[in-house]
């Protein structure tokens, strides 16, 4: 009741004996496959084979495939007809494209391949940015194909509908900032400066960053998923073949909405952060609300506030570009939509942080 083999005069005979249903002896199969190395011909002996199922057919399929790869002559005539037919059917269908795709590439080839992919990505990004700039040009000259209803929907989606989550997270960030600062400042009896710390921190950068990260995860991901799904459903193809500019139709309403709402959301995040800081100051540090307000106003600088707002505006462009770019360049299956969404969020956040670093250095150099 086993699968055995016999190697004689370079002829490998695989002997199937007894009841071989649910055949799962990998060791034995490995031994048969090993012995193919010394064989010129592969035969089968199934005289005493009583019962079998597709597990045996799968094992024979593996053996025959290996033998074919080694150009070994194969004789399956001794197998029962139905088993022979089953294996032949599996061998007959080979839909795998005969391309070099599966060839193992050398290190240099891999490097070259990666280089070409990066180059392709850069080319696509430039094309997207050029198309988007042209779309903006058409918008400002009143020639863009922009549906009012799409714009209003996008504006509402990244406007008042995002206020709740931005409020909550910014409030908590202000609260944490105040709490962490309080632990240190209390030691010097300088806890009143918590108000200054929170006001400067939130207005200069933290409000914008928090609003940006929230909107990248919420709206940027939604842009990539929506447009990606449109790509899967051939809606983007339909737009192209109808001759409608894809960027006007899909990117413009989303980008304009984010550019408009991000500075306001940043401003709102600033306020909520300061309220969070005030909550800690009033409840834990015995600072009165008027005192907190006075110190906050003292620390508040218009330049800091405008820098924060500008960051928000810049993040709006980055998030909408990333979301729409990955949506438009999404593949044609569900997996690609997931990939596009992930890439959109990760890229948005990375580019936002890098851009902030560069901008901060420039502002520092300018003394702002």
């Amino acid at each position: 009741m086993a699968l055995d083999f016999l190697l004689k005069q370079n002829i490998l005979t695989v002997v199937a004996d007894g009841d071989l249903r649910d055949y799962d002896n990998q060791e034995q199969l490995k031994a048969v496959l090993q012995s193919l190395k010394k064989a010129d011909k592969l035969c089968f002996n199934a005289e005493n084979l009583q019962k079998w199922d597709s597990s045996l057919a799968a094992a024979f399929y593996q053996i025959i495939i290996k033998a074919k790869q080694k150009n070994i002559k194969i004789d399956t005539s001794a197998l029962p007809d139905d088993l022979q037919n089953l294996v032949a059917l599996a061998l007959a269908v080979d839909r795998k494209p005969k391309s070099n795709d599966n060839k193992k590439l050398s290190f240099l080839e891999n490097l070259g391949e990666s280089g070409l992919q990066i180059f392709d990505g850069v080319k696509k990004s430039w094309a997207f940015l050029a198309d988007t700039t042209k779309s903006l040009g058409r918008f400002f000259t009143g020639r863009a194909v922009l549906r009012r209803v799409d714009f209003e929907f996008a504006l509402a989606d990244c406007g008042y509908k995002a206020v709740g989550i931005v409020s909550l997270v910014s409030f908590m960030v202000g609260l944490i900032l105040a709490f962490v600062g309080a632990l240190q400042l209390k030691m010097f009896g300088a806890q009143i400066y918590i108000a200054s710390l929170v006001a400067i921190g939130m207005t200069r950068i933290m409000g914008a960053i928090m609003a940006g990260i929230i909107m990248a995860g919420r709206t940027g991901a939604s842009y990539a998923a929506t447009i990606g799904t449109m790509q899967v459903n051939e809606e983007v193809d339909a737009l192209k073949t109808l001759g409608l500019p894809v960027t006007d139709f899909l990117v413009l309403p989303r980008m304009l909405s984010l550019i408009i709402t991000m500075p306001f959301l940043t401003m709102w995040a600033d306020i909520m952060g300061m309220i969070g800081g005030a909550t800690v100051a009033i409840l834990m540090l015995d600072i009165s609300a008027p005192q907190y307000w006075i110190y906050s106003l003292k620390a508040f600088q218009l330049a800091n506030f405008l820098v924060g707002i500008f960051h928000g505006f810049m993040y709006g462009i980055i998030i909408s570009c990333c979301g729409c770019y990955y949506g438009i360049n999404c593949g044609r299956n569900a997996d690609s939509v997931g990939w596009a969404t992930t890439k959109a969020v990760v890229s948005s956040i990375v580019i936002m942080i890098v851009a902030t670093g560069i901008l901060t250095s420039i502002l520092e150099a300018l003394g702002i």
């Binding site: 839909r95 494209p97 929907f153 449109m230 193809d237 339909a238 073949t241 109808l242 001759g243 409608l244």
Partner: protein, 251 residues
């Protein structure tokens, strides 16, 4: 030289994705007013050929003429102009999910004509009625069946009265009755509007019901292995593969 009665011509066309060549050296002509079938097994490159013919994929090698004008190397503006005379029904219908059926059909009319809102509304109602969707103007794509989506997609494709209509697997996912209705609709459009129709399909019933001319894409030889009227090809098959395909694997 393109003959007057030739609507679309392809010469030495290749279909490839990177190093993976799906088809090479495709040569065919589609005559004015014909119903032309592009047939072949799954994965042979039929839909990719449609993407080349509609400019969704750039041509690496070969030439395409549409209405006597070179299409493959035309600039975006020229392509856009040529494509205004072409309607496409995608496999899934490709309706814009955020718009009602009426808005979907109205979109190309709003974009390319100076018609009044009233005329556009009349045309939308007519085109939807033409495909048997009278009364569905205010429905969203998510609210109708697969067959209805395809018919609505056809209404949108017909919006600008195109010279050429492309159909990508029109019967895919439809029951035999809906599929037959769509075939009848294709025949009716061809007969009454004289539209040249290009259909990508592997549905034998559709091929024989509507096809006047056809090419068979052979995945093995990676080129066209038969051309002619589908019924004639079945009677006098040029090779075993065509017979096998057209007989539904029976011969």
């Amino acid at each position: 030289m393109i003959k007057d009665n030739v609507k679309i011509k392809a010469e030495g066309l290749n279909i490839a994705y990177g190093s993976n060549v799906l088809m090479h050296n495709l040569n065919f002509e589609i005559k004015n007013g014909d119903i032309f079938i592009i047939m072949g097994g799954s994965g042979c490159g039929k839909s990719s050929l449609l993407r080349l013919l509609t400019g969704l994929k750039s041509v690496d090698e070969g030439k395409i003429w549409i209405n006597g004008v070179r299409f493959d190397n035309a600039d975006d503006q020229q392509k856009k102009k040529i494509m205004q005379n072409c309607g496409i029904l995608y496999q899934s219908g490709a309706l814009f999910s955020s718009m009602t059926l009426a808005e979907n059909v109205a979109l190309p009319l709003q974009q390319y004509t100076n018609y009044s809102d009233a005329l556009i509304s009349d045309l939308v109602a007519f085109k939807l009625a033409l495909v048997g969707l009278k009364g569905y103007e205010d429905f969203y794509p998510a609210e109708i069946s697969g067959g209805m989506k395809k018919r609505a997609g056809l209404a949108r494709a017909l919006a600008l009265d195109p010279d050429i209509l492309y159909f990508d697997e029109p019967s895919a996912g439809l029951d035999p009755v809906s599929s037959k209705l769509l075939d009848d609709l294709i025949l009716e459009i061809n007969k009454s509007l004289g539209t040249t129709i290009v259909v990508i399909t592997h549905e034998l019933s559709s091929i024989f019901a509507i096809g006047k001319d056809a090419i068979f894409l052979d995945a093995e030889t990676k080129t066209i292995s038969a051309q002619g009227n589908p019924k004639e090809l079945l009677k006098n098959p040029p090779n075993q593969k065509v017979l096998h395909f057209l007989s539904g694997g029976k011969k």
